[in-house]
């Protein structure tokens, strides 16, 4: 019995160790691979131009494995043949759903439906490096795969990165230029309504929590940079690596905001919570509420950190402030 056990344990330990060894190995090769491709890329740029960059025709059949890549493609006037869907809404994001009629649904980003991707027979596959970078080889068995880093940089960088591959850099630049103009215009509109020094905050009501949105994406950059709005007291204190902070309703008055932008999460319970808060005297006594400067945003557009999402968010703001 004892010998049996010892033999068995040894085998198990060896198998575990070898599995770990494999993990370490693959990760190492993975790292060295990316390192190699990086250096070759930079070498290329100084040397023979961008010949190695995978560029394809805008008409190619694209399968997009990230909702944000899908939205950036739409901004470039390209409709993929298939796309993953939002994990939260279990569908294409509502604000772009009408542009994705007839596009195949490929599961959610963390759990893509590989058979559906294969069935589409795409010419090219786009993946988000953050979510699916590790699975690149799986996608490459189906079609050439482009991995986009959707984490570093702003949505402008993401848009340009994608534009390089589809050969629509010009459209990307135009889109951004158009966006900046619109942002300046909407910014003026808002400042006219609220006053030059008005301080604003954005809150999000979920099923159980009240969140104050900070300076980080998705909401921070568009609010406080693109639209040049002033932060309410305390918004700047929210940790820079957190998109939001959960707060107690007790401290809402401390923010002393002149205007409040509200996003209500999907679902009946969040809506109900907000209705309940609206009835509360503390809420009714807020400066912004008394002056009727509470604006309920079309949440999906604002929370979608992509070129098209931001563009539509500006339209939403324009609508709210033109009466």
């Amino acid at each position: 019995m004892k010998k049996w056990m010892i033999a068995l344990m040894t085998i198990m330990i060896i198998s575990v160790l070898s599995a770990c060894g494999q993990v370490a190995n693959t990760s190492k090769t993975g790292a060295s691979n990316t390192g190699a491709s990086n250096t070759s890329n930079t070498g290329k740029e100084s040397g023979d131009g961008k010949s190695d960059l995978l560029v394809h025709s805008p008409d190619a059949k694209i399968a997009s494995m990230s909702i944000h890549i899908t939205n950036n493609l739409l901004a470039l006037g390209i409709t993929p043949v298939g796309s993953v869907i939002g994990g939260d809404v279990k569908d294409f994001l509502p604000h772009v759903a009408d542009r994705l009629n007839g596009v195949a649904k490929l599961g959610v980003v963390a759990d893509p439906d590989m058979e559906a991707v294969l069935g589409l027979k795409p010419d090219i596959i786009y993946i988000d490096d953050v979510y699916s970078g590790n699975d690149k080889s799986k996608f490459e068995k189906i079609a050439p795969t482009i991995s986009i880093d959707m984490d570093s940089g702003t949505w402008r960088d993401h848009l340009k990165r994608i534009a390089e591959h589809v050969g629509r850099e010009q459209q990307a630049d135009q889109f951004i230029e158009h966006y900046e103009e619109k942002a300046a215009q909407v910014s003026k509109l808002i400042h006219n309504e609220l006053g030059q020094d008005a301080k604003v905050m954005a809150i999000r009501m979920t099923a159980k929590e009240l969140r104050v949105m900070g300076t980080r994406r998705p909401l921070g950059p568009i609010m406080f940079e693109d639209l040049k709005l002033n932060m309410a007291d305390g918004v700047e204190k929210i940790a820079a690596d957190q998109p939001y902070e959960v707060i107690s309703k007790e401290v809402l008055p401390d923010y002393n905001a002149d205007a409040i932008f509200v996003i209500i999460s999907k679902g009946n319970e969040a809506k109900r919570n907000f209705d309940e808060m609206e009835k509360n005297p503390v809420w009714q006594n807020l400066k912004a509420v008394k002056n009727k400067h509470v604006y309920v945003l079309d949440g999906q557009k604002w929370l979608d950190y992509s070129s098209i999402g931001h563009d539509m968010a500006l339209d939403d703001a324009e609508k709210l402030f033109t009466k």
């Binding site: 770990c20 990760s27 994990g87 439906d113 294969l118």
Partner: protein, 341 residues
């Protein structure tokens, strides 16, 4: 009926049950192989399996469907057997790896991974099983320590109570972490927790296979010891069985098998609970006959549940764990009622 006849009829019953289960298992696996968003005719499936498929068919069959089904099969066997061991060792018909806190521990492992270590270097395909396995194993060790008595070794009844308590505590931590996740990650974690048969790659098959292939035969070879446990500690000790030591060994094995299984398929409960019950009705209480049947029942339940979840509820595939609970839970309660009358 003398003893020899009795044991012969037992053997026959067990054989019939195993044969019937084998047929059912093959049928279920065949159906499962034909399930997927890409339509393949049964004929094409057969042709591909025999090596004559097109490249696309090969990809679908050997890269997507087969590894997943093998993982499901192995995990089903593992959960069934480990439940059987636990029930035997603890002499409690309600013992189950899930109730013992292993699922809760594995879930916390997953939550820790997606909350804090998601940026860690290395392939997620193996890191997630590593974290969940560790979570389950650490929880089991904690529970063992609490249930350990200096004089009497691990006390079975206390083991279960402690398991429930620790599981409750760990679940509340998991819940706390899960509330802070962003919706995309949460959707993934929720599906994992509900038992969505997460492991779908050959790597997962290779990671799970040794546990089943090595430990299950070992347990089977010691099935007489398990029979002795059923007699009670004192009786078992009187025939010379080192009860405390054997109990720890068997418990460790049950934990190892179920941790490995749960790490690959996600938080699936009830199989470890229901499979041994069904098996006992089919093959009688002797572990020699009843262990393999419990494994087969586990396999059939899990593969069936996964297939139902993927095919019936399109497009929002329901995790296998939910299907198991929805069918297995009430059936299990029914079983308990029937035993009385």
């Amino acid at each position: 009926m003398n003893i020899e006849q009795l044991s012969r009829s037992r053997v026959r019953r067990a054989l019939i049950a195993s044969a019937a289960l084998l047929v059912i298992a093959i049928a279920v696996i065949a159906i499962s192989l034909n399930t997927g968003s890409l339509r393949l005719t049964p004929l094409a499936v057969l042709r591909t399996l025999l090596g004559g498929g097109s490249s696309d068919e090969n990809l679908v069959m050997f890269e997507y469907r087969l590894p997943r089904i093998i993982v499901t099969m192995l995990a089903g066997i593992g959960l069934g057997i480990s439940g059987a061991i636990l029930q035997g060792v603890s002499r409690n018909a309600l013992a189950d790896p899930g109730i013992l806190g292993i699922n809760a521990g594995a879930a916390l492992g997953l939550m820790l991974f997606v909350s804090f270590f998601r940026s860690m270097e290395g392939p997620a395909a193996l890191l997630i099983p590593l974290f969940t396995f560790m979570g389950g194993a650490v929880t089991a060790v904690i529970i063992f320590l609490f249930a350990y008595d200096r004089h009497r070794g691990i006390i079975p009844a206390r083991l279960i109570l402690v398991g429930i308590a620790v599981a409750a505590g760990i679940s509340s931590l998991t819940l706390l972490l899960s509330l802070r996740l962003d919706p995309n990650i949460y959707a993934f974690a929720a599906r994992w927790l509900a038992g969505s048969v997460w492991g779908r790659e050959w790597e997962h098959v290779w990671a799970l296979l040794p546990w089943i292939v090595l430990l299950v035969p070992f347990v089977y070879s010691r099935s007489r010891t398990l029979d002795l446990f059923a007699m009670g500690d004192d009786a078992a000790a009187s025939v010379g069985s080192p009860v405390s030591r054997d109990r720890i060994i068997f418990l460790s094995i049950a934990v190892a098998i179920s941790c490995a299984s749960v790490a690959m398929v996600g938080g699936i409960g009830f199989i470890g609970l229901a499979a041994p019950h069904i098996a006992r009705r089919l093959a009688g209480p002797q572990h020699r006959f009843f262990l393999p049947v419990a494994g087969m029942v586990g396999l059939v339940i899990l593969v069936l549940a996964d297939t139902i979840g993927r095919s019936v509820f399109q497009p929002n595939a329901i995790p296998a764990g939910v299907v198991v609970a929805a069918i297995g839970g009430p059936y299990f309660l029914y079983l308990l009622f029937k035993t009385k009358t």
